[in-house]
């Protein structure tokens, strides 16, 4: 949904098939510091224009969480040149779709439309980079909308609420600990001036990257981008905060008691990000555990033991700083969450004791490579992947990443499991269902 897509996790749905340098991407930097990445793809007469700002919830402060995401909503409110509510209407009138997403480290805006109309989003995005009209009244009204969004996504969704609690418990001093949408109490006490300051600080050409993928001519698109964005002055340099999470001593546990039907468990382990050598093996480990119905967690918990409705794992490595490895399961009806937890931990222990088979590792690698190729079916996903890597250290990491994946051995998978899936890196969260809904009938 519109202005909605808060990214919880980035799946490793990447692009570019075999071999080094397969990514056919052109990079430019304008005089004002704006970076532009263009990939021509002529399979269909459509294109996506995306602009990603290097600002997310990690750039917020305690007591003022949720500013980046609320600002994303406000970006659709209008400028002096293009009146209120006109942005999406103009894009839709041109047969396009537009939306945006906010993560812990970036905020992205995108349009999808027939490629011969690519000039329109270029002009509109350039305008709203600096010229947004932000009145306190409008900010507070949209704040109410975000509070409704928060109620829908978290307060009334017990599994999502558990995720929020677990991440907030796992991190002690890193800003990863608060949710992108912000805490309800912070939204209630929001000061519109903070939001305006946030916009003025972070929305500048030298803090943004444009990504264009589709049926376009690079030179023509670049010329249009220069024409619209080139005149915007560079903003003050923004210091990138380097925050290190302090060491953890022992497992942490957290419980959420909410009206729900089935118990649910989420384990998270602190792990390095994808820029670390161990990142590749962690990603393959997630594949061995969770890459489809033939993988270990499904096979053991869902198929053989029949104690879980679903079970999965995921390596969350596309972050600037070390983040988390997830393993989770929803208990089947009548099954005890203690037994589910034990089965989940047993599977992790198995891999620590014995390396996975060559075939399992090859399968996980093939799935990662296969999804790279499949993703190229969609211009939108191509741009998302380029942006995700660019935000954490440069789009060229994509090639490095694939090379790294190809080199992973069963021994590597065992080694990273033994090194990182340990109690001193772990936070366990359990959802305990309470109460039951009653139907009043007509």
């Amino acid at each position: 949904m519109k202005k909605a897509a808060i990214i919880f996790s980035l799946l490793f749905v990447l692009l570019c098939p075999h071999g080094a340098g397969a990514l056919n991407l052109k990079e430019y930097t304008l005089d004002n510091g704006l970076k532009v990445l263009i990939a021509e793809d002529h399979k269909a007469p459509t294109a996506t224009f995306q602009i990603w700002y290097r600002v997310g919830s990690v750039d917020e402060k305690i007591g003022k969480t949720g500013l980046s995401h609320l600002l994303e909503h406000m970006m659709f409110k209008g400028t002096a040149a293009h009146g209120p509510k006109s942005f999406s209407q103009a894009i839709q009138r041109a047969g396009g779709m537009d939306n945006a997403f906010t993560s812990r480290e970036y905020t992205g805006y995108f349009e999808l439309l027939a490629s011969d109309r690519i000039g329109l989003p270029i002009e509109l995005e350039a305008d709203r980079m600096r010229n947004l009209i932000l009145t306190p009244k409008a900010v507070l009204s949209e704040r109410d909308v975000v509070m409704e969004e928060r109620r829908m996504r978290y307060e009334d969704d017990p599994q999502n609420m558990l995720h929020e609690e677990v991440v907030a418990t796992a991190f002690k001093d890193h800003p990863y600990r608060w949710p992108v949408i912000g805490w309800m109490s912070d939204l209630k006490g929001l000061d519109p001036d903070d939001l305006i300051a946030h916009y003025k600080t972070y929305y500048a050409p030298n803090n943004a990257v444009i990504i264009v993928v589709g049926d376009v001519d690079s030179a023509q698109v670049l010329a249009k981008i220069k024409e619209s964005f080139g005149k915007i002055p560079r903003g003050p340099e923004i210091k990138e905060a380097h925050i290190r999470e302090d060491a953890q001593y022992g497992e942490k546990r957290v419980y959420v008691k909410k009206e729900a039907e089935l118990p649910y468990i989420l384990l998270v382990y602190k792990v390095p990000d994808i820029k670390d050598q161990d990142g590749y093996a962690l990603d393959v480990l997630a594949g061995v555990l969770s890459g489809g119905k033939s993988s270990r967690l499904y096979n053991s918990l869902v198929y053989e033991k029949q104690i879980a409705l679903s079970a999965w794992a995921s390596y969350e490595g596309l972050y600037r700083d070390p983040f988390l490895f997830y393993a989770a399961a929803t208990a089947s009806r009548g099954k005890k969450i203690e037994d589910v937890e034990k089965a989940l931990l047993d599977e992790l222990e198995n891999i620590k004791k014995d390396p996975p088979s060559e075939r399992e590792v090859q399968k996980a690698k093939n799935q990662i490579e296969g999804s790279f190729i499949m993703e190229q079916d969609s211009i939108y996903m191509q741009a998302r992947t380029i942006g995700s890597f660019e935000m954490i250290g440069g789009w060229r990491l994509v090639d490095k990443y694939l090379e790294g994946i190809r080199k992973v051995t069963p021994g590597d998978v065992q080694r990273v499991a033994a090194k990182y899936l340990v109690a001193d890196r772990k936070t366990t969260g359990i959802l305990i269902p309470e109460g039951e809904g009653k139907s009043d009938g007509e």
Binding site: G96, D156, D157, S295, Q306
Partner: protein, 441 residues
């Protein structure tokens, strides 16, 4: 190669309004065994996507066996005469592909996604699971337990609870009112013999529509079809007679208590079939009312101006044998009355006053101008082609759609709003904290 050029040609025409063309979007043929094949060759990427629809959805279920069609589809990749469940998942997952089944009311769908180099393996597996599923008692019990657990889990999703109650009230005993996955009780009533018989009757080539898009030419496709589907026999099966759909008589309000922070509201009633000629005028009308995102009246009024909700929408869900209209939102319990009042007000307004020229033109510009986005990838093309065939839209639908939408007038919008929106005889479902909501309705 030629298919791709035709496709691009069609796209270009879309952007040049005055030209008309009978150029087809895909190659269509009916195999000797009755299976319909739709094929588009696109060579840009070494992948093949297949969407295989079989007219074996829940509308074909015998009474009292709700969930049979979905369970049958669900069991296809849980073992065949020669492969176990794990053999199937391991084979397709090893090559980084996917083979999935999904239930539905009108038809079930099996989708295959593979790299070109693995297309033979993909067709082998696809044919095996559709033609020779084992339906072992053990796998049946396993999948029944999983589906039952997921039915229970759905009860913690207020939006799903609201939607199920709404469809039941609108459609009554008609299959469209019964969840495709069935209920805990109806699943208990399904036997292995029911599944085997259902498969034998409905999984026949005459009931199949296969759409293939990607890096595969006609000759290659034919070789695969001959080899893996050549021996499949069986004529199309006549659709089961369905109950007559009846409108309600005055508002019916269903209130469901949950200890949550928002009221989840759905308001609506019966709508139209996908094959109704008014489909296009209804599309334009609904875009203006609540389908057009930030260009729609419901969003502008309830979210942008009043800050009452995050997600506000309306849509017409159109199936083969009927459909429904729904307007929906979530709002803090205390605002439920106000938000419901605004939905009814907007329904009434579009039925009584003509829409503005700008609204009409913007809606038409979006609906026609966004068409290329609906068919710009192999996945989207395969899904689109199945719908084109099933709802008899014609291979020149890309052109026809534009003509139909362009022809819609303000009078048409007013006429279909009057005919297909009913602010009196509606079903209203509210799932939320009823004490805090203290509904007037």
């Amino acid at each position: 190669m030629t298919r791709r050029i035709v496709l691009i040609f069609v796209f270009l025409l879309l952007l040049i309004p005055l030209r008309a063309s009978a150029a087809g979007i895909a190659e269509r043929e009916v195999l000797p065994n009755g299976m319909v094949i739709l094929h588009v060759e696109r060579t840009g990427l070494p992948i093949v996507k297949v969407s295989f629809a079989i007219k074996a959805g829940s509308v074909a279920e015998p009474p009292g066996k709700a969930g049979l069609a979905n369970l049958t589809a669900d069991l296809l990749n849980e073992g065949t005469a020669t492969r176990s469940s794990k053999d199937i998942s391991d084979a397709i997952e090893f090559v980084g592909g996917s083979l999935n089944t999904s239930g539905g009311a009108d038809y079930i769908t099996v989708t295959l996604s593979v790299l070109k180099k693995d297309v033979e393996l993909g067709f082998d597996l696809l044919s095996d699971i559709v033609l020779h599923p084992a339906f072992s008692e053990e796998e049946i019990q396993r999948r029944k337990a999983i589906i039952k657990s997921s039915i229970i889990q759905q009860k913690e999703e207020p939006g799903t609870v609201a939607s199920k109650a709404f469809l039941k009230a609108v459609f009554g005993d008609h299959p469209y009112g019964i969840p495709v996955e069935g209920t805990e009780e109806s699943l208990d009533a399904i036997t292995r013999q029911d599944i085997v018989d259902f498969h034998k009757t409905y999984y026949v080539p005459g009931n199949g529509i296969m759409a293939v898009s990607g890096d595969i030419d006609r000759k290659e496709l034919h070789a695969l079809l001959d080899r893996f589907f050549g021996g499949w026999k069986g004529r199309e099966v006549a659709a089961r007679p369905l109950p007559v759909l009846r409108k309600g008589d005055g508002p019916r309000v269903i209130k469901i208590q949950r200890d949550i922070t928002q009221a989840n509201v759905i308001l609506g009633h019966l709508g139209i079939s996908r094959e109704d000629p008014d489909y296009y005028a209804v599309s334009v009308m609904n875009y203006i009312l609540g389908g057009g995102g930030f260009a729609s009246r419901l969003m502008d009024n309830i979210r942008d101006n009043k800050g009452l909700s995050y997600d506000v929408h309306s849509f017409y869900s159109t199936n083969k044998f009927g459909g429904f209209f729904e307007a929906g939102l979530q709002t803090k319990n205390g605002s439920a009355n106000a938000a419901i009042g605004e939905i009814l007000k907007e329904m009434q307004r579009i039925r009584t006053e003509p829409v503005s020229d700008k609204e009409l033109n913007d809606a038409k510009a979006y609906l026609t101008g966004s068409f290329p986005l609906r068919i710009d990838s192999n996945s989207k093309i395969a899904g689109f082609l199945v719908a084109v065939e099933y709802y008899r839209l014609g291979l020149d639908y890309v052109d026809k759609y534009k003509t139909f939408i362009d022809a819609v007038t303000k009078d048409d919008v007013l006429r279909v709003a009057k005919k297909y929106l009913d602010p009196k005889d509606y079903v209203l479902v509210v799932v939320g904290n009823l004490e805090k909501a203290s509904l007037r309705y």
